[in-house]
């Protein structure tokens, strides 16, 4: 049996990290859903098509209640990718899989050139990766419809970010042209992340889970240099002169 396995072409698995919004429902769930509806009312379709994870650590629900919650979210066009903050036993086969803290994921190629009888640790001791600089430089304009995502650090854009384009950074965002699209900083949970732009005409700015749409931003800030940062749980935007 084992020799048969060895002759087969070895599979290569790759791990990849993705961005997802995380919802942390608070009991009572009815009230929490009402709060979500209020948010959706302000920005329709904001979550549509984006993967969402459910953190149930604050709301210990049974399997049936979880199913019901997921169905309620689906009615709002929100699709749940996975669940975290719950015992594995609490998740039946019909529910999305359990997610665990997922930072620091590297490519995994466990089945290549490992003798069948070697101890598994031999495959795990990969050479230490060289430290990459934690910033991404974009030296061309970011056009409408384009999306630049860099979860490991800061993004610097030398040109402008067009209307309908998006920049998503784990750290801060620096834009030396005009921000007309969407900028989300601190996407990996860093509350000290900031957004700086030479000229602000953005459609939406967010730091971590806190965001403001253009409607909620003072007109006096538009067309000038501006920065956005978090003051506790409040997203603040001010002119930079």
């Amino acid at each position: 049996m084992s020799s048969l396995l060895c002759q087969r072409q070895s599979l290569t698995f790759r791990a990849r990290s993705y961005m997802a919004f995380v919802f942390t429902p608070q009991p009572p769930i009815e009230d929490w859903l009402a709060g979500l509806d209020a948010t959706l009312e302000r920005s329709k379709g904001f979550f549509a098509g984006h993967p969402v994870a459910l953190d149930l650590s604050a709301a210990p629900l049974g399997e049936a209640a979880i199913s019901q919650l997921i169905a309620s979210l689906q009615e709002r066009n929100i699709r749940v990718l996975g669940i975290e903050g719950i015992e594995p036993a609490g998740i039946g086969p019909g529910l999305p899989p359990l997610l665990r803290a997922a930072r620091g994921v590297a490519d995994i190629e466990p089945l290549e050139s490992v003798p069948a009888d070697a101890p598994p640790s031999a495959a795990v001791n990969a050479p230490a990766k060289k430290q990459e600089p934690a910033s991404l430089l974009v030296d061309s304009p970011v056009r409408s419809g384009q999306s630049v995502v860099f979860i490991d650090g800061d993004i610097t854009v030398l040109g402008s970010v067009g209307s309908g384009a998006e920049i998503i950074a784990g750290g801060s965002i620096h834009i030396y042209g005009t921000l007309r699209g969407l900028a989300m900083a601190g996407a990996s949970g860093n509350p000290r992340a900031r957004i700086f732009c030479h000229r602000f005409e953005g459609e939406l700015v967010a730091i971590g889970p806190h965001y403001k749409t253009a409607d909620e931003i003072e007109d006096s800030l538009r067309r000038g240099p501006a920065q956005a940062w978090l003051d506790g749980d409040t997203l603040k935007i001010s002119a930079m002169n």
């Binding site: 061309s140 304009p141 067009g162």
Partner: protein, 276 residues
């Protein structure tokens, strides 16, 4: 034929519909052909063809681009020579098929064959960012982005420029598609009143060098309806002159740029700009 000469493949594109791609394709095709260059205009708007009407060739269409791609006809059988300009040819689109009939290999073969026969191959892109539009831009050496000075058109153009930088053969080879901005349907008085974006705003948003500004004009509409592009039908009218100047700029000539109905020349300000 022009063995040894290097053909240039242009795509006329915009993202948004109704901004003047087909009109501009025909007008520029005529302007370049009048200069003595050998020009073919190719209609990529399969299913919604219009270029044949604008050029007044609709009664002479026998075979089309899809027939050539499918091997039903040979390329010379499908090419229609203009009755007024012997250097100008049309390769019409099919009206009875849709964009799915365009294949990547088929388009590549047709463009390669046209390159051996013409100085300029001008591809009239359909609106949108789907198959028809991406195949029209696929082999382009240069792109003319047609934009109206209004926010929706400008944002769609921005999207198309992003695709030109990623989905074209040149982009995939790590090269750059030359980009030229053609602003059409420009109303000087509406711009002055702030009802349209100004030329400066459009250039600031798109950061692409300006090829020309075509004023809104009855002449253009009339010309399209009688099947004779404005550069042929009313060659001395302001829009025709703007198209002729744009054609000369395409050939690398330096011509000062004028904003229609504004006396101040802003050549240095506008033409000196480079794409970022």
């Amino acid at each position: 034929m022009n063995e040894g000469k290097s053909a240039r493949v242009l795509v006329v594109t915009s993202g948004k519909g109704g901004v003047g791609k087909t009109t501009s394709t025909a007008a520029l095709g005529v302007a370049l052909a009048k200069d003595g260059d050998k020009v073919v205009v190719v209609d990529f708007d399969v299913g919604l063809r219009n270029l044949d009407l604008v050029l007044g060739a609709e009664r002479r269409v026998v075979f089309d681009l899809i027939n050539v791609i499918n091997g039903v006809a040979k390329l010379p059988q499908a090419l229609i020579r203009d009755k007024r300009l012997e250097n100008l040819y049309l390769l019409p689109a099919s009206q009875t098929r849709d964009k799915e009939a365009l294949t990547e290999d088929g388009v590549a073969k047709v463009i390669a064959e046209l390159r051996g026969k013409f100085d300029w191959i001008i591809c009239d892109s359909p609106a949108g960012i789907e198959r028809g539009a991406t195949l029209a831009m696929r082999h382009a050496d240069a792109a003319i982005i047609v934009t109206n000075p209004e926010v929706s058109s400008v944002r769609d153009s921005d999207r198309i420029i992003g695709l030109l930088d990623s989905k074209t053969e040149r982009a995939e080879r790590g090269e750059c598609v030359d980009k030229h901005l053609l602003i059409t349907r420009y109303h000087p008085w509406r711009a002055a009143r702030g009802e349209m974006l100004s030329i400066d705003d459009v250039l600031e948003i798109l950061s692409v060098p300006l090829l020309g500004i075509i004023p809104e004009s009855e002449e253009v509409l009339r010309a399209s309806n009688v099947g004779s592009p404005v550069t042929l039908n009313a060659a001395l009218s302001p829009p025709a002159r703007a198209y002729f100047e744009a054609a000369h700029r395409l050939k690398g000539e330096q011509i000062p740029m004028h904003i229609p109905s504004e006396s101040r020349s802003i050549f240095n300000k506008l033409f000196g700009r480079k794409a970022a």
